[in-house]
């Protein structure tokens, strides 16, 4: 497991997405209304919409291109559409750093 500080919580706006890039990897990070941060791959399973640009409603993001609804907790696309995206564990440490945990065997390698 590798931990990467991607930024500070103050750089995040409520219910807005930010893009994080590392090599080939592109993630969308969102700060939810309750302060929690979520990270998922920035790629909609439908037609590769940039989820970082989507609207966040509670723990869901709606893809900006065709409105698929995706659960940020488990990456599952909500009915009536189907599919799933990769999610990544993130936490905010006591200094307010947003820390992303990347497993070694993740898609990046």
């Amino acid at each position: 497991m590798n931990e990467v500080i991607v930024g500070h919580i103050s750089e995040f706006t409520d219910r807005r997405g930010r893009v994080f890039r590392l090599g080939e990897l592109e993630l969308a990070l969102f700060k939810l209304s309750d302060g929690e941060v979520k990270a998922v791959e920035n790629n909609c399973p439908h037609k590769n919409g940039k989820l970082s640009e989507g609207m966040v409603c509670d723990h869901h993001v709606y893809c900006p291109l065709h409105d698929w609804k995706i659960d940020l907790n488990d990456g599952l696309v909500q009915a009536p559409d189907e599919g799933c995206i990769q999610t990544y564990p993130v936490f905010v440490d006591d200094k307010g750093n947003v820390v992303l945990q990347l497993a070694m065997q993740s898609k990046v390698s």
Binding site: R21, M55, K69
Partner: protein
């Protein structure tokens, strides 16, 4: 011991019959179905929608594989029944599977009739009957351009419409001079032709096909008169013939179809036929409604329930081509002794004809407005006597003794079919309301499939719903603005005003939203309504704006954005052009394009480059992404044009400068032309201004988009000030009364143009509206500038990157 039922054919009529049988007597039979197509039962009618791109293959499955399993039906899909031994009572398939029966049902449908033209066996010559044909057409559209449909009937026209949607060029060849001659009279037929030509179909009428040209694949079609057309695809839709060969080979009496009696029994005992393959009293039907009626009778017969037997059906048709409303039923042609009442309205393109025989309605044709279709169809079937008051049927009566839809519903018997496409009876619909708690047409559709086919029965389903629940209850369960609430737009806006709610969060709390943070439908809507009601108090909620309005640029399919600076009235300067060119080069903009609204679009910009570009451009945002004033297109007008009567450029610039940045329910496009030649196409705009000698005409509620609509004249005024005043009042009235995401054309049609005119009629009302819009306009700021000047805001456009030491 259960009896054994074998059915040949796994199509609409057959499976509907099996469904009915299972309802009446689920345990009587062990059922085997042999179906040649490798699919479960699907809605053949909807193939037109699949072709037109409105539905996909999954959407049209009527009974999925699980249904067969759950009902213990043995299905041999992809197998053709090849032989029947009527002595031993067995059916054998082409793959060698044998099934023995006590009762046998033919439900083999029809075969498309293929004209025996020389060359008809070439590649690219097909029919339109099943999923495979549909797939062939979709595939062909990817590689070829030119399609020819032979046959100007229902099927041919639906195929042609689908092919047009697939971006093919389409010629429709018809042997007669009028389209759909079996369903329409000449007047309606010509109106239809005009409408379809407008949609892009090309007709070759009174043409007899001679032969098909080409080597391996078709390249053209030759006619008897020596002319020919090019074609990469030929679709034959000239008719169908009942599929009777197997029955004939088995010694069953066959005429055009398999001959059946009133109980659908063939000439052999225990052998029945239902659907398009059957011929009853000399008629083989080709539409589903009568086939479902046959199925219901056969189900009763085999379930051991008494019935009167099948008496034949009156049929009605509806063409499933979007933008065209056509309906016909019964005997609609004038015959000796019949009388007809006609209404023809060339202005709205409406034609109605009702034919009477001895006072009874025997047929009808409707074009343009088919709202009366269910009523007329049930009058044909009920045979009510209108002698002496025939005119009331179409024109209404002063005495008011006309049957209302409500009375009609009351008079319908329970087993009368309401939805012809899916064979749903009135009782089934009532059951879904009373037992399954359906309270809207949508729910009834989900529950029973009623109104899910061509949609023609929707008014009747609504009427049944109203009669069952009462007017008030139907009103009480109307659908809300989205799935998060049952409240309508007006109720929400009312609550916002009444309780002085100023944030979305408050609205959702107080009005008990089902989802705590709403959804993509209500969030932007609420943000708009709040801003409209409280321009100075409501703080714009950026997180509730859709991506384009949040990023102040249009997102493209690859995640890049496009940038369109404001170019007032389409007038620019060499200096601005140079600046735009420099910026385009600096940021490696892949595509620079002139838009339809007379400005310049820089496409393919990376999100992180947006603030930089805006800064360098130092021009106002063109709002090409927003639900806001987009462009004011102008013609050159009196400044240079020899026809111009007024300065259309100045008028356009003034309008654009005054109303830019205004939030509106949907995008708003304006245009100004300098004379009635109307080069700026002002009459398909949300608001268009056309100069006349000594004044201006203001047109409203036009649309040049998905649903083209010519604008209506709102008013003629004399001065430029008046143009600004009327425009302000009109836009504010739209802002205050439209649903979010509703274009002016839809809105004006919904509320009625007269209502709009009335609201703007008095100078006092206009002034009040203008005062409110001016207040809002006083608060708007250029978003690009704001972002450029605020480092915090600009930074949000950057991607985060990992610190250098992080490696994965």
């Amino acid at each position: 011991m259960k009896r054994k039922l074998v059915m040949i054919g796994n199509g609409m009529a057959g499976v509907s019959f099996v469904e009915q049988l299972l309802k009446l007597n689920p345990h009587r039979y062990d059922i085997t179905i042999i179906g040649a197509e490798p699919h479960p039962n699907y809605n053949r009618i909807m193939l037109s929608s699949v072709l037109a791109g409105d539905a996909n293959m999954q959407d049209i499955v009527l009974n999925d594989w699980d249904w067969y399993r759950d009902n213990n039906i043995l299905l041999h899909a992809g197998q053709t029944a090849a032989h029947i031994d009527t002595e031993k009572r067995t059916v054998t398939t082409d793959k060698g599977i044998a099934a023995s029966y006590d009762d046998l049902v033919f439900a083999t449908g029809s075969l498309p009739f293929m004209l025996p033209l020389p060359g008809a066996d070439k590649e690219g010559v097909i029919a339109f009957r099943d999923i495979k044909d549909c797939e062939t057409m979709i595939e062909a559209s990817k590689n070829y351009r030119k399609a020819v449909v032979i046959g100007g009937g229902l099927l041919g026209l639906e195929a042609a419409r689908g092919l047009l949607n697939l971006k093919m060029e389409v010629d429709v060849v018809h042997i007669f001079d009028n389209l759909m001659e079996r369903q329409l009279d000449r007047t309606a037929s010509k109106l239809l032709q005009a409408e379809l030509e407008r949609q892009g179909m090309n007709f070759l009428l009174e043409k007899q096909s001679d032969s098909i040209m080409g080597k391996k694949r078709v390249t053209g079609l030759k006619f008897k008169d020596g002319t020919h057309v090019d074609a990469d695809l030929v679709v034959m839709a000239v008719g169908i013939k009942p599929n009777v060969q197997l029955a004939k080979d088995s010694g069953i009496e066959v005429n055009r179809g398999i001959v059946v009696d009133d109980y659908l029994q063939t000439s052999l005992p225990n052998v029945y036929a239902v659907g398009e393959c059957a011929e009853h009293r000399g008629i083989a039907y080709g539409l589903v409604a009568p086939l479902y009626e046959q199925g219901a009778i056969l189900a009763k017969k085999l379930a051991g329930v008494d019935s009167e037997g099948y008496q034949g059906s009156v049929v009605s048709t509806k063409l499933k081509v979007s933008g065209v409303n056509v309906f016909s039923a019964g005997r609609f042609n004038d015959e000796p002794g019949t009388k007809a009442v006609r209404v023809q309205d060339d202005i709205d393109g409406i034609y109605k004809k009702v034919v009477f025989d001895q006072g009874k309605v025997i047929g009808a044709v409707l074009f343009g407005d088919t709202g009366d279709s269910s009523r007329l169809f049930s009058l044909i079937r009920s045979g009510e006597d209108f002698a002496g008051r025939e005119k009331e049927v179409l024109l209404g009566s002063s005495g008011g003794q006309m049957a209302s839809t409500g009375d009609l519903v009351a008079a319908m018997s329970g087993d009368e079919i309401v939805c012809g496409c899916n064979g749903v009876t009135k009782d089934t619909i009532l059951e879904s309301i009373t037992e399954k708690g359906c309270v809207s047409v949508g729910e009834i559709r989900a529950c029973t499939k009623a109104s899910g086919g061509c949609g023609g029965c929707k008014p009747l389903v609504e009427a049944i719903l109203t009669s069952a629940l009462g007017e008030d209850n139907v009103a009480a369960v109307k659908e809300g603005i989205c799935g998060c609430t049952t409240l309508s737009r007006d109720e929400v806006v009312d609550a916002i005003k009444r309780m002085h709610l100023t944030t979305s969060k408050e609205v959702m709390h107080v009005l008990e939203w089902a989802n705590p943070e709403g959804c993509t439908k209500c969030r932007p809507a609420l943000n708009y309504y709040l801003g409209m009601v409280y321009p100075d108090e409501h703080e714009d909620e950026l997180e509730s704006r859709i991506v384009n309005e949040r990023s102040h640029a249009n997102i493209q399919k690859d995640g890049t954005f496009s940038v369109v600076p404001r170019i007032y009235g389409g007038v620019t300067t060499p200096a601005d052009l140079k600046k735009i060119a420099t910026v385009a080069e600096k940021y490696n903009v892949p595509l620079v394009k002139i838009t339809g609204g007379q400005r310049i679009d820089l496409l393919g910009v990376k999100k992180e480059d947006l603030p930089g570009m805006w800064g360098d451009l130092d021009m106002p945002s063109g709002y090409a992404y927003g639900k806001a004033l987009r462009t004011v297109k102008t013609c050159v007008g009196s400044t240079f044009c020899r026809f111009g009567t007024q300065d259309s450029i100045k008028m356009g610039i003034d309008l654009e400068k005054k109303f830019e940045r205004l939030d509106t329910p949907h995008k708003v496009k304006l245009a100004v032309s300098g004379c009635p030649r109307n080069c700026a196409e002002a009459t398909i705009k949300d608001l268009g201004v056309v100069a006349i000698d000594g004044g201006w005409e203001i047109y409203v509620a036009g649309n040049g988009g998905t649903r083209v609509r010519a604008a209506d004249l709102l008013v003629k005024v004399k001065t430029e000030e008046e143009v600004l005043e009327w425009t302000g009042a009109y836009l504010q009235y739209y802002r205050e009364t439209a649903n979010w995401n509703e274009r002016t054309s839809e809105w004006a049609q919904r509320v009625g143009l007269d209502t709009v005119k009335k609201a703007l009629e008095s100078k006092e009302d206009r002034d009040a509206l203008c005062e409110r819009i001016d207040k809002t306009l006083g608060l708007v700021k250029d978003p690009w500038k704001q972002i450029v000047e605020n480092a915090e805001l600009s930074k949000a456009f950057d991607a985060l990157t990992a610190p250098a030491e992080a490696k994965v």
